[in-house]
């Protein structure tokens, strides 16, 4: 083949590739625009109702904005007063209680409910329905119901305790009993997680247990080394949803106790909508966000060590 012809061939090939590239590029651009168009409702909402407010909140947290006068820059003043506010300390403590006591206890209870249902081979459908029933109640309705149950004078709970001759506490108005009272309500509603655990437990392959028993493994060993790892994805899911719910715990506590016992979110609510301290409450919100991210981040990273997914 002569040099001139191969030269031409090369140039033709290059031109064709460029043309294909251009067409491919415009094809990619078109697909990009189509994709963007389809997700535009979400994207618009994200920018205007999530990202925008978050950035605004960050800005306001460095000001003293209180809806009445224009915001003035105050630097880190809000953050400093946040960490020196005893009310915040108690709100933070209450939220920690929710996260590190209520959530794990709820998780354990749901697991136990699930295991019991799994053990009871017959009638699972009925047990499942009954256990799930409390979580069907709207949060406000159940808060109102429990407020009535916890009534110090006429409530059912204190009546039951008096039958057993146990001195009955004042429950929702007694600072020592407020949080356990809320925890009992949480345990009452743990059925929805329990149903997920039941589904997961039923999915564990029996062969694993049989093989282990052939090797002489004890029941406890089988539970820790087989059951737990096999259901770990569901544990993870319930743990994360429980944590996120716990951090934002608000309406039930609010309706049952009012805003005197504060959780983080009640603290923000009070400062924002009662005191109109928008700058300060923005600072509190951002600290909450950072805290949540760290916590959720830790749980996510820890997956590598204890959550087993089917390949």
């Amino acid at each position: 083949m002569s040099r001139g012809a191969s030269d031409l061939q090369l140039r033709a090939k290059a031109a064709l590739t460029r043309e294909k590239g251009r067409r491919a590029l415009s094809y990619r651009v078109r697909r990009f625009c189509t994709g963007l168009a389809f997700i535009s409702p979400w994207l618009f909402g994200f920018i205007t109702l999530t990202l925008g407010p978050m950035l605004l909140s960050l800005y306001y947290s460095f000001t003293d904005y209180n809806m009445i006068h224009a915001p003035n820059w105050v630097g880190a003043y809000n953050y400093v007063s946040l960490f020196t506010d005893p009310q915040f300390a108690s709100a933070f403590e209450n939220t920690l209680y929710v996260l590190f006591i209520m959530v794990p206890v709820n998780l354990l209870a749901a697991l136990i409910y699930g295991m019991l249902m799994d053990l009871a081979a017959r009638g699972q459908a009925i047990y499942r329905t009954i256990l799930y029933l409390p979580s069907l109640l709207p949060a406000v309705a159940s808060a109102i119901l429990w407020r009535w149950l916890y009534d110090p004078n006429f409530g059912l709970i204190n009546y039951g305790l008096s039958l057993l001759h146990i001195k009955s506490p004042l429950w929702l108005v007694d600072p020592h009993w407020e949080k356990p009272a809320l925890m009992i309500v949480g345990l009452w509603g743990a059925g929805n997680s329990a149903v997920l655990f039941l589904a997961a437990l039923r999915g564990v392959s029996r062969n694993l247990y049989e093989a282990a028993m052939v090797d002489g493994a004890s029941a406890w060993w089988r539970f820790v080394r087989i059951t737990i790892p096999q259901i770990s994805p569901v544990i993870f899911f319930n743990l994360v949803t429980g944590m996120i719910g716990g951090i934002q715990y608000f309406s039930q506590g609010f309706v049952m106790i009012g805003s005197s016992v504060q959780f983080w979110m009640t603290y923000i609510y009070n400062n924002a909508f009662v005191n109109l301290e928008m700058g300060f409450s923005s600072a509190a919100s951002w600290v909450l966000l950072v805290f949540t991210s760290i916590l959720v981040g830790i749980v996510f990273i820890s997956q590598r060590w204890w959550v087993h997914y089917e390949e």
């Binding site: 990619r28 697909r31 994709g35 168009a37 389809f38 997700i39 409702p41 979400w42 618009f44 909402g45 109702l49 999530t50 925008g52 407010p53 978050m54 605004l56 306001y60 019991l116 799994d118 053990l119 081979a121 047990y127 009954i130 256990l131 029933l133 409390p134 709207p138 949060a139 406000v140 109102i144 119901l145 009535w148 009534d151 004078n153 006429f154 059912l156 009546y159 039958l163 059925g191 589904a199 997961a200 437990l201 564990v204 029996r206 694993l208 028993m213 059951t227 994805p233 569901v234 934002q248 608000f250 309406s251 309706v255 979110m265 923000i268 928008m278 923005s282 919100s285 966000l289 949540t292």
Partner: protein, 286 residues
């Protein structure tokens, strides 16, 4: 032996027989049902019996008129109407927006799609509290406070959870169906509405049910954005009744709560089969 679940066999080795677990479960069920039973009983108690101590397990008279009184004491029908109005708009908005957005995240291949989806996932874990304050300020500046707009318009922007649910479901639909439609010259919009949506009914019903239940139950939103009592929804109305109107007539309150719960229970039981199919299948739980 073959059909026993695994934990049963462990349990037998551990000495906790099926009988003991049944006993425990029955105990648990009774304690879970007791509050619900009490709610029912209290709703039917005549006011005179409310303060009797010790309370009787069954009321001496069945006061059906509590239901009638409750409806008159608080603006029951007004609040129910408001709740229903908001619920319907939110259901329509979230359904439409989630169907469309989820399509963009699953059935279309485009540059940067996964980046945006990653952002969406992250927002699912965001505590809503962070945006609560500045969103209020924004709404205040555009004069939306005190209207239903902050409680309805956002539903048209597709919540991350609904999009995630639908997207997972769409991914189970074979790509070949869309491919052959594309070869016939159909636009993506047509493919979505003519092919994907009819096949996604269980997941869409799940979205509708979740949205309805979440909205019916919503307390914080109306608490922050509504100021006029005429616009209150049931959760706020009930709370307002206890706190501000000196309403501690627990029997009427229970009656009102029960009536309030009925649509939610109906929605749940009605959508249960679709619920399970759409929900469990897409969260990857076996």
């Amino acid at each position: 032996m073959k059909n026993r679940s695994a934990v049963t066999r462990i349990g037998q080795r551990m000495g906790i027989g099926a009988i003991a677990s049944h006993a425990l479960l029955v105990l648990i069920c009774i304690s879970l049902l007791l509050p619900l039973y009490w709610m029912l009983v209290t709703a039917l108690r005549p006011t005179s019996e409310l303060s009797q101590f010790p309370p009787h397990l069954l009321p001496d008279h069945l006061a059906w008129r509590n239901f009638v009184d409750a409806v008159q004491q608080i603006p029951f029908f007004l609040y129910m109407k408001n709740s229903a109005f908001l619920a319907v708009i939110n259901v329509v908005g979230s359904m439409l927006s989630a169907v469309i957005v989820a399509y963009g995240f699953s059935k279309l291949q485009w540059h940067g799609r996964n980046v945006f989806f990653g952002i969406l996932i992250v927002t699912m874990f965001l505590p809503g509290v962070v945006t609560m304050v500045p969103t209020y300020i924004i709404y205040h500046d555009i004069h939306w406070i005190g209207t239903y707009l902050p409680l309805t318009v956002p539903s048209f922007f597709a919540s991350a959870f609904n999009v995630f649910l639908l997207r997972q479901f769409y991914r189970t639909i074979p790509e070949s169906l869309s491919e052959s439609a594309r070869m016939d010259g159909a636009s993506e919009w047509r493919i979505l509405w003519r092919i994907i949506v009819p096949l996604s009914k269980p997941a869409i019903v799940a979205v509708v049910i979740f949205t309805f239940i979440g909205n019916w139950d919503d307390f914080t939103g109306p608490l922050i954005y509504l100021q006029n009592q005429h616009m209150y929804t049931m959760p706020i109305g009930l709370y307002d009744f206890i706190e501000n109107k000196g309403g501690t007539l627990w029997n009427q309150l229970m009656a009102a709560s029960l009536m309030f719960m009925v649509p939610m229970l109906l929605a749940f039981f009605f959508g249960q089969s679709a619920f399970v199919k759409g929900g469990i299948r897409t969260t990857g739980i076996k």
